[in-house]
Symmetry: C2
DNA sequence: TCGAGCCGTTGCAGTAAATGCAACAGGCAT
DNA sequence: ATGCCTGTTGCATTTACTGCAACGGCTCGA
C-alpha cells in the first residue's frame, strides 16, 4: 500500500540474513543507492538497524527490545478466552487454562460445563500438579535438568487408585507427554473425572500455558473424551498462533 | 529522513505496549485515520503487525522471527575480533574468545601474545573446563539446575596444586563468578599462567561467549594482571553491545 | 424496528515528499 | 601520487503520500 514503507520493511529480512552494505541493499531493493541510504538512515534513527564499525548494516537492538516487550505485554488469557468459550460451546464440557509458576500450576481461566454435574476448580487455585493434564503439559516442556529437579521436589499424594505417586512414574509420563504433544488425566485426581489437554506455545516454541477439557465419567466415557483430542489440539494451536501473532491463511482475494 | 517510514516505525513501540485500534494509533501519530490505516496495512502485509479478531493491531510474528534469525546469523567471532586485537595491542598479552557447547568450552579465536613466552592453546581446542576463566564464566551463566548437573558430570583433573578438584568447590567458584561478573584462573591449569576474563552477552542478557587475557608469571604478576580487569570488562561489554546491535552514545551534532 | 453513533474504509485532488541523477568526498590499495 | 570503490549530498522532476469528506457496516439503545 505504501511504497516507501514497503521498501523499508523489505530491508529487514534481507539484513536478518546477515550484515550488508549500502550497495547490496540498494541492489536487492531495485532502487538507487541514495534511496536505499535514506531508508536505512530512517531505520537507523529508530534503532531498528545498526551500523557496524565497517559501515555495514545489521538489525539493531530495537528489534530485540520490541519483540521482548511485546510478549511481556501480551495477555494469554485475553487471547485464549474466546477460543475457550467456543470449545465449551462445541463440547459442552468444562474448559481450563493454566500457567506454570514457581513449582505450581495455576488455573487462570475457566469456562463452566453446561451439564449439571461440574468439577471443582477455581481460577487462581493451584492444580493437582502431579496428575492434572495441564500440569503435565507445562512441566513436560521444561528443560530436562529442571524437569528432573522439580519432579524430585514434589509431593505425590494418592488422590485415587490411579494417581501418580512417585517421581519416576511422573517423569516417564512427562516424557510421553512431551513426545506426543498432548496429555490426559484419567481419574488420577478425582476418581470419576477425566481430562484431555494440549499446550499453548509462544513465538519461541515454549509452552506459555496449557488448556484442557474435563468431564465426569457419568457424562462421557474416557474414550469419548479422547475423541475430542483433535478438536482440543486445534484449539490450542489456534491460540498459540494468535498469541504469537501469526496470521493464518485466510483472505485469498481482497 | 523519510517521513513516511518514520511514522510507520513510530507505530511499533506504540503497539509493543499492547494492542491498539486505528484511532488510537492515528491519534498518537498525529495523522489522519486514513494515513494511519495505510501505514498499518503495509506493516500488516509484511507480518510486522498482526490484526486481532477484534480488529485491533498488535506486533506480529515477523518481529519475533526476524529477531531470532538475526541472532542465529550473527557471528560473535567476527564482531569480537577487532576488539580482541585492540586489547592485545594495548596489553601485549594473549587474548582468547571461547564459547560453550555440549559440556565443552572451546576456543574460537585467539590473538597471540607479543612476548616471546606464550601459552599453549589452539583455536577449536577444548579448554580446561574446570579451571579456565572463560569456562567459569560460561558455566556460571547456566540456570542453576543445569549448572549443578554439569558440575556433577565433569572430571576434575589436578593440573596443578591450585587446580579445582571437586564439584563443590567448582560450584562455589561459579557462584562467585556469577555474582561478580568476571573470573580468573590463577595457576589452576598451568602453574605459571594466570588469566582474567569477562563474559560477552547477547541481547537477552545471556552469555554467548567469554573472553580472557592470559599471561605467564614471568611477564606480569597476578596482581598486575588483575589491574587489567577494568579494561577487560570494558572490552567484553563493548563486544556485547555491538553484538546486540546497541549503538553507543556517540554523535551529538551531525 | 429503527435510528444514531462509532469506526474502519475508499476515491479523489492537491501538493508535499520521495526518487534518481550526477557530481562530490573520503578511504584504501596500487 | 593516482585510481577505484563506496558512501554522501543538492537538486529538479514527478510520483506517491496526505487529508478530506463521504460511505458502509456494526452495535447499542430507545
Amino acid at each position: 500500500m505504501s511504497q516507501t514503507v514497503d521498501r523499508a520493511l523489505s530491508i529487514l529480512p534481507l539484513l536478518a540474513e546477515g550484515p550488508a552494505n549500502l550497495e547490496q541493499v540498494a541492489a536487492r531493493l531495485g532502487v538507487h543507492k541514495s534511496t536505499a541510504l535514506r531508508l536505512l538512515r530512517t531505520l537507523h534513527e529508530h534503532g531498528i538497524v545498526h551500523r557496524q564499525p565497517d559501515q555495514r548494516y545489521r538489525l539493531g537492538s530495537r528489534i530485540f527490545a520490541l519483540a521482548q516487550q511485546a510478549v511481556e505485554n501480551l495477555d494469554v488469557r485475553e487471547i485464549a478466552h474466546p477460543h475457550l468459550v467456543e470449545l465449551n460451546a462445541r463440547t459442552g464440557h468444562t474448559v481450563h487454562l493454566a500457567v506454570h509458576e514457581e513449582d505450581e500450576v495455576l488455573y487462570i481461566d475457566k469456562v463452566e460445563s453446561r451439564y449439571p454435574v461440574r468439577m471443582y476448580s477455581r481460577i487462581g487455585k493451584p492444580v493437582a500438579i502431579t496428575n492434572a493434564a495441564v500440569a503435565k503439559l507445562l512441566l513436560a516442556d521444561l528443560p530436562e535438568q529442571e524437569r528432573r529437579a522439580v519432579a524430585q521436589r514434589l509431593d505425590y499424594p494418592r488422590y485415587t487408585a490411579r494417581s501418580i505417586t512417585d517421581a519416576k512414574t511422573f517423569l516417564a509420563e512427562l516424557a510421553k507427554v512431551r513426545e506426543q504433544g498432548w496429555a490426559t488425566d484419567l481419574g488420577g485426581h478425582e476418581e470419576s473425572i477425566n481430562c484431555v489437554g494440549a499446550p499453548v506455545r509462544g513465538p519461541d516454541g515454549r509452552a506459555v500455558a496449557a488448556m484442557s477439557v474435563s468431564a465426569p465419567n457419568v457424562v462421557v466415557s474416557a474414550d469419548e473424551l479422547l475423541g475430542l483430542l483433535p478438536l482440543v489440539r486445534r484449539t490450542a494451536d489456534a491460540i498459540s498462533d494468535e498469541y504469537s501473532g501469526k496470521t493464518p491463511e485466510k483472505e485469498r482475494h481482497p
